[in-house]
């Protein structure tokens, strides 16, 4: 299969127009299956086919993809919806080109097995990502008045093992799998999606300015990315090979078992309704609900308008 992929890449490369637009794309984390569709689109030549010459760069664990969009080192990024909405209201207006995942993968892993509800988290030291993703936990903290001592982390595993924190936030496709693979069984696991905090997560974003300037490129990029994800859905094993290539290039400490589980979970949360083909579209209703909650907690000053946010009025 690797030979087939390489051959296809060579053939497609020959067809690339000489005037292909240069695009730097940055997913929101270091290489992993979470971004398999974009790697596949690049490796299989879907971008070049669309007339886009894509370079993929990754953020560091302490410098987010939105930062890279802000500093101009990236053109198109992936981000979680909530960070994109907050950034749109505060820093830079973003346009959602495609909504890949439709459900929350946020979980809380606690050492104490007796913790079975949010109010029991009161006063605990809980790990959260240094780079963000913490709006929902903090809203939960405020709503339940828990006064949690949030400890920012780059990787929560060793903090948890060493006993430096009582619990940690985790993504079900990422940190939770790492815990299991390290032989760690958390005392209890709380899923945010089951406790009134189920919001779509990963999406494809550009700045409004970039979108206005290059609407066709943006749409073509989104379409080629969607094609990449659809190929991944049908070719998981081959997709994993592609992911591992990127993983090795960046020296990411992971393995194919970890990436396989991550890919399975990501593809599952891409489905709006379990078992159905993904729409890759942000629901207006989801954005509306998120707007209201973020407004209530002061993360945004006014609701982000759906049409503008999805590039409809631009």
């Amino acid at each position: 299969m690797k030979r087939k992929v390489s051959l296809m890449c060579l053939m497609l490369a020959a067809l690339v127009p000489a005037f292909a637009q240069q695009i730097t794309f940055t997913p929101q984390w270091t290489p992993q299956s979470q971004f398999a569709g974009y790697y596949a689109a690049l490796e299989l030549g879907f971008y070049r086919e669309a007339g886009i010459d894509v370079t993929i760069t990754h953020p560091t664990k302490t410098y987010s993809s939105i930062n890279m969009l802000l500093d101009g080192s990236s053109d198109i990024i992936t981000s979680e919806l909530i960070q994109a909405v907050v950034a749109t209201d505060n820093d830079i207006k973003l346009v959602n080109l495609m909504q890949t995942t439709q459900h929350s993968t946020l979980v809380l892993l606690a050492r104490d097995k007796n913790i079975q509800s949010m109010p029991q988290l009161s006063g605990l030291k809980i790990g959260t990502w240094k780079v963000g993703f913490n709006e929902i936990p903090k809203m939960m903290d405020e709503e339940y008045r828990l006064n949690i001592d949030w400890i920012k982390f780059i990787n929560p595993l060793n903090l948890y093992i060493s006993g430096a924190i009582d619990a940690t936030l985790a993504k079900s496709y990422s940190e939770q799998v790492l815990f299991t693979m390290s032989g760690i069984t958390p005392g209890s696991i709380l899923k945010f999606s089951e406790r009134g905090f189920d919001y779509p997560e990963d999406g494809l974003y550009v700045s409004e300015a970039f979108f206005k300037k290059n609407p066709q490129v943006c749409r073509k990029f989104a379409e080629a990315s969607r094609k990449g994800w659809e190929w991944v859905r049908k070719n998981r094993k081959e997709a994993l090979d592609i992911v591992m290539k990127y993983v090795k290039a960046e020296n990411v400490p992971t393995n194919i078992y970890n990436q396989k589980i991550m890919l399975d979970i990501i593809l599952e949360v891409q489905e709006d309704i379990k078992g159905q083909a993904p729409s890759y579209t942000l629901s207006e209703d989801d954005l509306d609900k998120l707007n209201k909650r973020l407004l209530r907690h002061g993360y945004i000053s006014r609701p982000v308008e759906y049409k503008r946010f999805t590039g409809g009025d631009l």
Binding site: Y63, I151, I154, L157, A164, N251, N255
Partner: protein
């Protein structure tokens, strides 16, 4: 083709050999199996001890290095507060730490954000060894290397104690796989202001672990606290996989035990199935860092010596069995050879050679007993044959004499029937079949003065004694009846003669009759005999009225009473001895009077000769092959 059951003609020695072989093979196999199992267990115990001893030695060396790092940091940390006023002096501290401790790869004194306002968020003097070994220094923290969230900084800060961080690939710092010992530093108010670290390149430690050679085909692992490989023969797995990665989703006892042990820093060993092969994993924790060092050994390697031992034992076992067969065969042959000789002797004896020489047995065992038994048998056989010869000769002589006696006895009885062919007024027939060569039954008749004198009798007992009494009775009847014409007097005379000198107490039942052939007047006297049956001209059957009286020969002078009647012509007298009515079949059932009368009713019209033949046929049919137990005599007299 149908194949019959094959019965091998195997000698005793052959069978003994097979049994010895089977029993020996079973004992050998069981003993070897037990021995091998015990050996395998012992070897496994030894291997476990050996593995843990190797692990222990290596862990001691690792601990020594780690403790050296800890001591170096502790001995340096106190200097830091002395030079806080001169941030650039801090570089000399980290440089000196490296200079004095060649096993330390790098060292940093990482400060809290804005500790020095002019330095901003990040200030961390850092010294490390360059490619040529020179000690170089630089400021470590940047926006893209925010050490405040690195494990080596954050965890000791949160735990408020020194900490060995998990091995990591330091991309932005030392650019090597390393681990860092961090000691938090506090000001006089107890507030943390910096963390001093010492980086230890894992090259030295991994080499130590990699060099463990516990078993020929074993390999070694070192795992961090989060179960990531620090040492693994496949370098691609280092820091990329954990020992549980490939078993994600699986759940079995050995995996759970290993997981629990590693998480809880316990030593142990488990048998794991990895890629279809079984491996023993011996593991022990490094207490300082709570890492785990493990030796992975194929099960086949642990059993290698046991396998060699097993093969040696199999070869030795086969040799021992072969030797046992050879020696047993010789021994058994030695024991069995005399038996074969005895067998040949027995064959010769069977052909009549009783004087055949016996094998010479010198031992005092079962063979000696067999020899003596054969010797006794030979003596007994010779004696027995001699006796047999004598007995046979006697028997032949007696049989010959009995045949003669039978001829004589039968010769005494009238045997030409019909008895009086020239006479129209009488038809008489009789038949006597003795149970043995000679018998005790008798009959006789003759005509004198137009009167038929007749007798039928039965002497007690059978054989020669009875036949002698029978002969005497017959002669006496002829002689007495020749001059006495009353049946009771004839009977009395016979009784007196027989009773005289009857020491053997033999007796004789008898019925004597005198039939006047002109008038049909029948005078008769019975002496304990069966009453005769009368078939009248109309075919009616009745029993002649007789007084029982005593048999002859019992009491001298017994007063016998005579009786008389008159029979019409065409009346038949049917006389018989008890051998007729007491004839038995195989079920010991007697013919009986009723059956005899029924038989006569069926044959009332038969002539005496025919009736007698039919009587004997009836008895034969009743006996149905049963041996005749008593003499049988029937006499029919038809007055015409």
């Amino acid at each position: 083709m149908k194949i019959g059951k094959f019965t091998p003609n195997v000698s005793i020695s052959g069978r003994l050999m097979v049994r010895v072989l089977i029993v020996s093979a079973i004992i050998f196999t069981l003993s070897f199996s037990l021995f091998l199992r015990m050996s395998a267990n012992k070897m496994r115990e030894e291997a476990t001890k050996h593995a843990h001893s190797e692990l222990s030695n290596t862990i001691h060396q690792i601990d020594a290095i780690l403790q050296a790092v800890e001591i170096a940091v502790e001995n340096t940390a106190w200097v830091v507060p002395q030079v806080l006023d001169s941030p650039d002096s801090l570089y000399r501290i980290t440089e000196r730490l490296l200079h004095n401790n060649e096993f330390i790869y790098g060292s940093a004194i990482a400060f809290e954000p804005n500790f020095y306002s002019k330095e901003g968020q990040f200030f961390s003097p850092y010294s490390y060894r360059g490619k040529n070994g020179n000690i170089r220094s630089r400021q470590l923290g940047t926006d893209t290397y925010n050490y405040h969230y690195m494990d080596w900084y954050q965890i000791p800060k949160l735990l408020n104690k020194s900490y060995w961080c998990e091995p990591y690939y330091d991309d932005g710092g030392g650019e090597k796989m390393m681990t860092t010992y961090s000691k938090p530093l506090y000001n006089s108010n107890g507030k943390l202001y910096a963390v001093i670290t010492a980086d230890l390149s894992l090259e030295g430690l991994t080499e130590l672990v990699g060099n463990i050679k516990a078993f020929d085909k074993s390999y070694n692992l070192m795992l961090s606290r989060n179960a990531s490989y620090i040492v693994h023969p496949d370098h691609n797995l280092i820091l990329n996989e954990t020992i549980f990665s490939s078993t994600y989703g699986e759940s079995d006892e050995s995996l759970k035990k290993m997981q629990d042990d590693i998480v809880n820093c316990k030593e142990g060993e488990v048998l794991r199935d990895m890629g279809g092969d079984k491996f023993f994993v011996f593991y022990s924790p490094v207490e300082t860092t709570q890492w785990t060092v493990a030796i992975v050994c194929p099960l086949s390697e642990l059993h290698k010596d046991a396998k060699i031992l097993r093969n040696m034992l199999i070869v030795l076992g086969i040799i021992a069995l072969l030797l046992m067969i050879a020696l047993s065969y010789k021994g058994i042959r030695r024991v069995v050879a005399p038996i074969e000789k005895f067998s040949n002797v027995a064959k010769k004896i069977a052909t009549g050679d009783f004087a055949v020489e016996l094998p010479n047995i010198t031992s005092q065992d079962e063979l000696k007993e067999l020899h003596d038994s054969f010797e006794n048998m030979q003596t007994s056989l010779v004696k027995y044959i001699e006796e047999l010869k004598f007995t046979t000769a006697n028997k032949e002589r007696i049989e010959s004499e009995l045949q003669i006696a039978r001829s004589i006895q039968m010769g005494m009885l009238p045997k030409s029937f019909p008895a009086f062919p020239e006479r129209e007024d009488i038809s008489l027939s009789a038949k006597l079949v003795p149970a043995k060569e000679v018998g005790g039954d008798l009959y006789d008749f003759f005509i004198k003065d137009e009167k038929l004198y007749f007798i039928i009798g039965d002497v007690s007992g059978k054989g020669v004694p009875a036949s002698l009494v029978m002969a005497v009775t017959c002669r006496l009847f002829r002689s007495v009846a020749s001059y006495i014409n009353k049946p009771e007097e004839i009977i009395s005379s016979l009784n007196d003669s027989l009773a005289d000198g009857n020491d053997s107490n033999m007796f004789c039942t008898a019925f004597i009759g005198i039939l006047c052939l002109k008038t049909g007047e029948l005078k008769y006297c019975n002496a304990g005999h069966n009453a005769p049956l009368i078939v009248d001209p109309e075919g009616r059957i009745s029993m002649l009225n007789v007084k029982p009286n005593l048999p002859l020969g019992l009491f001298d002078g017994f007063p016998y009473e005579g009786q008389e009647t008159t029979i019409s012509r065409n009346t038949m007298l049917y006389l018989f001895t008890d051998g007729v009515t007491e004839a038995e079949n195989n079920n010991k059932e007697l013919l009986g009077d009723d059956k005899l009368v029924a038989f006569l009713k069926m044959n009332v019209s038969a002539d005496p000769g025919v009736l007698i033949d039919l009587t004997f046929e009836e008895i034969k049919a009743h006996a149905n092959g049963a041996e005749q137990s008593d003499d049988i005599t029937v006499m029919c007299i038809k007055y015409c």
